[in-house]
């Protein structure tokens, strides 16, 4: 049996079911590796001793019928965990202890998994490099100079660094798929309404979705099966027939029609990304699927639309942080002064920037010109996909316009940071599922990802395509453990 932390989720589950290994042994292995990996700064809150207790308890009376029997899992610190500090990467929630559990994490614990700790992320999930976190930036296990992507940067780093066998992130504009692409891992953003938003710290409610992150497609499918559920506590949760994604997973995609959108060939796209995309197209053909050129004419308007809609919703969602009922409070001369100082000292620069943008586009005199306009363009973007899906079953694009960039490289230029999400944002605006799979390396050896976008509620189909491609690609992540002394 190979080293525990190198095993995939499927292997661990198999080994635990065959009683070759105990939950305690698995948990110990991940705790020990996590302890040695402080240099990555992946964890905001560790819950190791409680995890080891739970593992021992699991082993005393193991229920091996569960889908995640005694499997330790660290989760993004955007999910509320009952009695365990939940910060959203922000100073303003530094001491917040939820009195309830998010539905998505509850679904995971119901299947026998054990919480290892809470993972670092960009503050309120606003960022593409994990540099906006109050708890410091996260290192990419691939190379110490690189960002892991964001906002689920801690989650991606924890998967790539083998600190947790699987994890969950959230994706509002690319926050699962982009970091997955930057770290050579797999990340799925499900259809809007597939996973409950209940108990997830809100960023932009019409775009936010939780999703699985894993080392491979099969593990991702299994976790999606666990976390996706109809939930009456989320008013936009959708009641549809959910597949048993891992059981129904197949690499037979013969005859599937895959669209290649010409508008994703953006100006200045590095040749390496072009080549990767072409390689992906060849793999698709090798699998017996048909490749069809399509057009998504409003693609270039997606990012500007997103940077109106998301901040507008954020400015409204983040109004609740006023220093009264929970979180950080600054001293003020009166109530208003207290609010203003609390929010000025409690939020970081990027969050303040987005609140200001959102407030402006919703303010009197500007609402029609910006917010309403963006909602109309959002409709056009969704129409583009609806049209395309009359001809194809799924769409193949690069996940990001480049490999992971250097820490600090884009920190002072918000627009160049935002451009990172150019291929992922349209998917959120249209509410569709999208998966990023590692597909190759650039000349420096950094991983590059391809994205498969599906029809709404068609997660099974994109998982199948990803599964078939994964086999052909045979990607190997290059992890040297540089951070372990």
């Amino acid at each position: 049996m190979s080293e525990i932390t190198k095993q995939s989720l499927s292997e661990l589950v198999k080994n635990i079911k065959n009683k070759k290994i105990s939950s305690e042994e698995i948990t110990k292995a991940f705790v020990n590796r996590s302890k040695k990996s402080k240099g990555l700064n992946t964890y905001i809150t560790e819950d190791y001793s409680s995890a080891l207790d739970k593992a021992k308890k699991f082993d005393q009376n193991p229920n091996l019928d569960l889908k995640l029997p005694g499997i330790p899992i660290a989760v993004k610190d955007l999910f509320c965990t009952k009695d365990i500090r939940t910060t959203a990467g922000s100073k303003i929630l530094n001491n917040f202890v939820p009195t309830y559990e998010s539905t998505v994490t509850q679904n995971i614990w119901n299947e026998g998994a054990i919480l290892l700790g809470k993972l670092n992320c960009d503050e309120f999930a606003m960022g593409s490099s994990n540099e906006t976190s109050f708890f410091g930036n996260v290192q990419n296990p691939i190379d110490k100079n690189l960002v892991p992507g964001g906002s689920s940067g801690g989650s991606a780093s924890a998967i790539a660094g083998q600190l947790t066998p699987i994890t969950i992130g959230t994706d509002t504009g690319g926050s699962i798929r982009q970091p997955a692409s930057f770290t050579g891992t797999v990340g799925l953003k499900p259809t809007y309404g597939s996973c409950s938003r209940y108990g997830i710290v809100a960023f932009a409610s019409s775009l936010d979705q939780a999703g699985p992150m894993a080392q491979n497609v099969k593990d991702c499918a299994l976790l999606q099966e666990v976390i996706s559920s109809y939930d009456s506590k989320d008013s936009t949760s959708i009641n549809f027939k959910r597949n048993e994604y891992s059981k129904e997973l197949t690499n037979n995609i013969k005859g599937k029609k895959i669209g290649i959108p010409k508008e994703y060939r953006v100006d200045g796209m590095p040749k390496e990304i072009e080549d990767l995309w072409q390689k992906g197209i060849n793999y698709i053909k090798d699998c017996g699927a048909e490749v069809i050129d399509i057009s998504l004419p409003h693609t270039s308007y997606a990012l500007p639309t997103y940077y109106i809609v998301a901040p507008a919703e954020a400015s409204s969602n983040l109004a609740r942080y006023d220093g009264v009922k929970y979180g950080f409070r600054a001293k003020g001369e009166n109530l208003i002064d207290m609010y203003e100082k609390t929010r000025s000292e409690g939020f970081g620069a990027e969050v303040q920037r987005r609140i200001m943008i959102g407030t402006y586009v919703l303010s009197s005199g500007y609402y029609d010109a910006y917010y309403l306009k963006a909602q109309k363009v959002r409709k056009l973007i969704k129409n583009d996909f609806d049209e395309a899906y009359k001809k194809v079953d799924a769409i193949l694009t690069p996940s990001t316009p480049s490999a992971a960039f250097k820490i600090g490289e884009k920190k002072d230029d918000p627009v160049s940071m935002y451009l990172n999400d150019i291929f992922t944002v349209p998917v959120n605006l249209a509410g569709l599922p999208g998966i990023s799979i590692p597909a190759g390396h650039d000349s420096k050896g950094y991983p590059l990802g391809l994205q498969i976008i599906g029809k709404a509620f068609d997660e099974q189909n994109i998982l199948n395509i990803a599964y078939a491609m994964e086999e052909k690609i045979d990607f190997k992540n290059k992890i040297t453990d540089w951070w372990i002394k």
Partner: protein, 95 residues
């Protein structure tokens, strides 16, 4: 269009975020570059397009208004930055 310092101060009031002059200048620069990028939307004619408010094609469901969590008062008050037994405390509002 350009966002001046006066506008920044106005938005900061609406956002309840205090902003000193130095911060206002930085914010004005950032917001101007972001809005320059956003203005691309003006290339599109959208008069006849219906706005998309939510991709979830569901109507809001009604539910009965029941209390489901019990005895969490203490935990909730404990999360407040300044508590006084069963109350949230704020700076004096009425003189």
């Amino acid at each position: 269009m350009s966002i001046d310092l006066k506008t920044i101060k106005h938005i900061s009031k609406l956002s309840r975020i205090s902003v000193d002059n130095q911060k206002a200048e930085k914010l004005a620069d950032d917001l101007n570059s972001i809005f320059k990028f956003i203005e691309k939307l003006n290339e599109l004619k959208t008069d006849k397009i219906q706005p998309l408010t939510s991709v979830a094609e569901t109507t809001l469901k009604l539910r009965s208004d029941e209390v489901k969590s019990n005895d969490i008062r203490e935990q909730i008050v404990k999360n407040s930055p300044q508590d006084n037994e069963d109350y949230f405390v704020v700076p004096k509002v009425i003189e």
